[in-house]
Symmetry: C2
Subunit: 348 residues, 2 copies
């Protein structure tokens, strides 16, 4: 028995060394939903680097988590690294489905073969149970992004309309706005007249659902009409405080639109984040200016991340811009006074 | 000591259960390069499912492997699953860099601060050492795709021009065709006049490199001109046997183009693969027809994958198309006679 255990351990240790890991599976017992829920966690590459121990990160919450965790975490990693990051490094929390249609639909429709109408409860689970747990366990900034597709897009779109809106940014991908006789579109119409959307960003990806259907069903037309109506409503509305972006994907249908719109969505909600690094090392002042513009626009005080500043300082040094390297290093020290390594004098 | 080992093992076993893994790291001692090389391996979800034990898969070889393994494997997974797969399930082999510029550049340029000119050796490593090892260890189809960006794109583009071309399909992303006074463009010009490209597919992603540069350097202009010239050469050439696709990304620069073009490239090289499943379950004969069209075009005899057929059979059954479900199941049996579970009579 002992021998077997040893062999098992050795095998585990051995095989463990060879695996490529991208996250962990966590569980939370939800009182509100009366069930255990799984959420998958991806932490930024620099998260456990003690150099950056006081860094806090925006959090991406992902619906249909088990389906898109792998791809979204890869995209977030690629989009946030290097000299030209387009988004900040983020924590990703992917919520695994148990009863998808129950959780994501805002109203109950009785004549269906699947459950519906549980969105309010699911929202409360997210806001009152999941988010507090994530904030307790990880170094989170209070900037939260929600990503949803189809029913997930319907759910996310409904949260945009809430006051207050529980997330700062939303990536809504071809939402099922036809749900329950366009009930969400009607709600949108009412909300747009009254709500102040300041500080909310919405990226709306609109697929050409009919394009690839030889015999489009009535539901598909309703779907398309509902989306078109909502987009028109938002565009025509006086809610100038909403940072609203939409993109129509002529070549994509309801399923194929997801991957390209994830990239576009992530980049668009952080539009203005990307800085021309060649210009920056010549003129460090553009950093604070550009972050101020971004912060004003999205209604959240974003600061350059410490690891990014380190890379830029390194680049400036390599290119002989020693004075500017020092200015940027000092900014890093000013922004992250508790990062121990930054307290030392900068050595070129 | 023994206690410590036990604790270590327990910790490993315990923490292992919580991790999300997407691949393994393998090593190969290269005689040609005289160094050990790391390659990262992602196997399809169904690879270890004994139901599909005789299934073979196309192989995606990925340059700059450590940078894009995570994202590309996620994309391949999302693009190949569900009822509307756009590409087949694939094995992904990502080659980790040791000396990037040495391996990926086709000629030696002496006045640089980095190594160059090792592409021929690196190609021989891939064709004579890596590919045989992968074919020995995994269930591979003899259909190979190469993905490269920048210097990796330059390397891949040079392989397109070889006779025979070692890969079937190439995703070439904003290649560094300015290298060594456009030497590759000159080679292209000569090759296009003589080579038969039958069976080769090339997706060429062309970024707007100058767009986001406030002060474009001479090199950037050369880069842009070199790409423009190559595209014109290929488009004008009489090499009708090349399956050639190019896309110009007006909004993307040399770095930002990678993610969107990975999605486009993967889908484009398998253009025609996607089948309207709603039509299919009404008329199973379109499956063989569409696969024949695809196979004729790309010069390789592609068959529907067994797991996909299972999903379609399941859908047809659910929607009451029992006769068609049986036809599709019989096709699965015919294509994969050695998959044990398929030998049983189909039970609706």
């Amino acid at each position: 028995m002992k021998i077997l255990f040893y062999i098992f351990c050795l095998f585990t240790v051995f095989s463990n060394a060879q695996k490529i890991e991208i996250g962990t599976i966590e569980k939370i017992q939800s009182t509100i939903l009366n069930e255990e829920r799984e959420y998958w966690v991806s932490l930024p590459e620099n998260y456990t680097n003690e150099k950056y121990e006081t860094q806090k990160y925006p959090v991406v919450y992902l619906l249909d988590g088990e389906k898109y965790f792998h791809t979204v975490t890869g995209m977030v990693k690629n989009l946030s690294n290097g000299y030209y990051p387009q988004i900040p490094e983020c924590i990703v929390i992917a919520i695994k489905n148990t009863n998808r249609s129950r959780d994501l639909t805002p109203t109950t429709v009785t004549d269906l073969s699947y459950a519906s109408g549980g969105a309010d409860k699911f929202e409360t689970f997210i806001t009152d149970e999941l988010i507090p747990e994530v904030n307790k366990n990880y170094n989170t900034l209070d900037y939260k992004i929600l990503i949803g597709h189809s029913f997930g897009g319907l759910f996310a779109f409904n949260l945009v309309l809430k006051t207050p809106s529980p997330f700062n940014s939303y990536i809504v991908i071809d939402p099922s706005l036809w749900w329950d006789n366009n009930t969400t579109v009607q709600k949108l119409e009412r909300t747009l007249k009254t709500k102040n959307f300041r500080g909310t960003t919405l990226f709306f990806a609109n697929a050409n659902s009919i394009g690839n259907q030889k015999e489009p069903s009535t539901q598909h037309y309703e779907h398309f009409e509902a989306k078109k109506n909502s987009l028109k409503l938002v565009e025509d509305s006086v809610s100038e405080n909403l940072n609203f972006y939409s993109k129509y994907y002529k070549e994509e249908d309801h399923g194929s639109v997801v991957l390209p719109s994830l990239i576009d969505g992530l980049r668009t909600i952080f539009k203005g984040f990307r800085i021309n690094v060649k210009e920056l090392i010549k003129n460090p002042s553009i950093l604070e200016r550009d972050y101020q513009l971004l912060s004003d626009k999205i209604g959240f005080d974003f600061k350059p991340q410490s690891a990014y500043l380190d890379r830029v300082v390194d680049l400036a040094s390599k290119q002989g811009k020693k004075e500017n390297a020092e200015i940027l290093h000092d900014l890093n020290k000013k922004l992250y006074p508790d990062n121990v390594y930054l307290k030392h004098k900068f050595e070129l």
